[in-house]
Amino acid sequence: MLSRIMDGFAIIGRFTKYFGLCGNAGILSGIISGFILMLASLENNTSISDKELFYIGFILTIFCYSIVLIVFSGLGSYTIKSIALPSFINSVLVVFTTVYITNYFDCFCYAWLLGAIIGLLIGLILCRINSFNKNIKNGL
């Protein structure tokens, strides 16, 4: 049974290859920010002002960006220099979108799932834009 579960995780691991660096970084930022939003909403479900929403996005961005850098440079084979800027842009977009959409639809209980989907979409779009720019540079 345990080996089956590990095989299952291995299949999920294989799927992550298709998402590329941007997709995986987006999912990571989205899940972390969404999970923290979910936990915070369980303790305090008062309404959030626009100013507070910005501060929340800002703090979460710093936290998620740090985690993404640690995970991809420490456990992955990337250098911090090569991923610093793209993962920063990724984290900013994913976290702020997750925070604002979660608050707008008031769906804090499912914020982690929403964050994962938003992260995947934004990550894939960023990957596509990046490859499009590369093709232009290469004259294709």
């Binding site: 579960i5 299952g8 939003l37 936990l39 305090n44 936290f63």
Partner: protein
Amino acid sequence: MACNEGIRPKCGVVSPPAIEEEKKFDQVNAIGNVLVIAIVAFVIIILVLSIITFLVQAAITTAGVATGVIAAAVAAIVILIIVTNKFNEICGSGPKGGTTECVAGVVSNIKNSFSELSEDVFPFTINPSRIDVVVKSDYWSIVERNATNVYCTNDDWPRKSEIMRCYFKDAEACNALTGAVVGTMTGLVAGMAAAGVAAAAIGCATFFFCLIGIIVGAILGILAAVLGAFVGGQVGKATGTAEVDEIRSQIVIGDLITVQGNMLRREAEGGANVLWYVNLVSELGVVPASISNNPFSYCEIDEILSMDACTL
């Protein structure tokens, strides 16, 4: 020495080979695995909903403590999974499958465990000791078999040669990882306690303060787990009885050897075939001083090692 211009090493990352039987087997496995994933996902969802219900009831009185502790626990458990995964890979049954293979060549590189500072500080980055063998061209088909990555020397064609990475079971790395697992578990408990205290101190008067409490809790969980892994790793390394592999300790760069072991495709190395672990080594001598080791090439090794222990 003459190189064989009729053969070319398949270096770097290549497309995975299409093998129908393996594909069918994978499909059958995949269906079973998808079912398992669905069951596990269902259980996780039920667990999450139960936790949410519990927290909603507890939230009124805990003032941020529960969520801070949960954040710390989740962060520390992620670290624990990473450490345990590494422990299973190196000390347990390791990656599944593999076939017994034998290759011959010259040792071009030796990398012992704990040769980098990061392996001392973060035990979950440890790799067991390994030697890199520049293999005879006769054995390139073994190195390439079903591999999606092939290691090669930095030489230009036609001198470029294929390399087989050969890992040895490493008692010292295993001791350190055992200590790291215990240390991470201790760190998990300590991190949860520290996170609870910190979250209570920060309080949960507004949504923003709740969020800060959770982030602080998560950071404390990560720090405690990593610190626990480091301390546990050092204690395990220092107190464990490391059985030194005599054969490995005698191998030096330039040795002509045959190595036999379990060959498998290692995903962590881009799908390259490696010997994990070596179980038999035969030393056949040393390359003559006249031969360049910058780097070694099959052009010379094929001639020097016309006979090797694999063919016996």
